[in-house]
């Protein structure tokens, strides 16, 4: 996958499908499809939804979502970062709390970090199908 992704968008619900469409373009270009493509799109959507719902809830104005994607052909790594309030418990959460569990379930590796300077970084890794041995 040569066309990596580097997106910065306003943290808004309307931009969640925008991010998904951008990632879909990346997957299409790399011929990633079926369940793996669906899993990547679901994970990215959940990560961005978490940012929109939680990251800037105490901020005067919505911040940004930063999305990067890169691949070495064997694995796809997508990072979703915000500069919001970081990992904090929320007893008034509007959702089911399934976002991170879903990401963990569909990705091969997931890391969630507080970031120096504020915010949260969610990194998701997906193994891509091997295609250079004729097996796929």
């Amino acid at each position: 996958m040569s066309d990596d992704l580097d997106l910065v968008l306003a943290s808004s619900a309307e931009n969640v499908p925008v991010v998904r469409q951008a990632v879909r373009g990346l997957l299409d270009a790399a011929a990633v499809k079926d369940q793996l493509a669906g899993d990547v799109l679901l994970a990215v959507t959940e990560a961005c939804t978490n940012v929109v719902r939680h990251a800037y809830r105490e901020a005067a104005a919505p911040g940004e979502i930063e999305i990067t994607a890169s691949s070495d052909g064997r694995r796809l790594v997508i990072a979703v970062r915000d500069r919001g309030c970081g990992l904090t418990p929320r007893i008034d959460s509007p959702g089911l709390g399934l976002g991170l569990p879903v990401i963990a379930a569909v990705s091969d590796r997931m890391e969630v970090h507080d970031v120096d300077g504020g915010g949260t970084l969610v990194t998701m890794e997906f193994a891509l199908a091997q295609s250079d041995d004729g097996a796929g």
Binding site: G38, T45, V102
Partner: protein, 110 residues
């Protein structure tokens, strides 16, 4: 009443769906058909769970339509989150409508 989701749904359409389901809840039974939905995420599942809770508390039926004909990404997220073990689910719309219209006693969620 049947509410059929078509296309992709996420946080950007969750509020509109919630409003549609509130409107649909005025009928005796509600069916949410996922057969034409191509993508749903956990924010949409949250709306469905809330609609189910509201229906149960008011003694109205709520049934989800989902089966082999439902697009795979939708079936996958429902299965991953085990929502099909929480919400009444049938593979056929007519059967779901019949089930949703069966009288039920109100149930307190808490």
């Amino acid at each position: 009443m049947v509410v059929a989701l078509a296309g992709e749904h996420d946080l950007s359409s969750a509020e509109a769906l919630r409003e549609s389901l509130v409107e649909a809840a005025r009928s005796p039974g509600m069916v949410v058909d996922l057969d034409m939905a191509e993508f749903v995420d956990s924010s949409i599942l949250g709306v469905l769970v809330q609609a189910f809770r509201d229906a149960r508390e008011s003694g109205r039926g709520f049934v989800l339509v989902m089966g082999d004909q439902t697009p795979a990404p939708v079936r996958r997220v429902v299965s991953l989150t085990r929502l099909d073990q929480v919400l009444p689910t049938l593979p056929d719309r007519q059967a779901a409508l019949a089930a949703a219209l069966m009288p039920t006693a109100p149930v307190d969620s808490e």
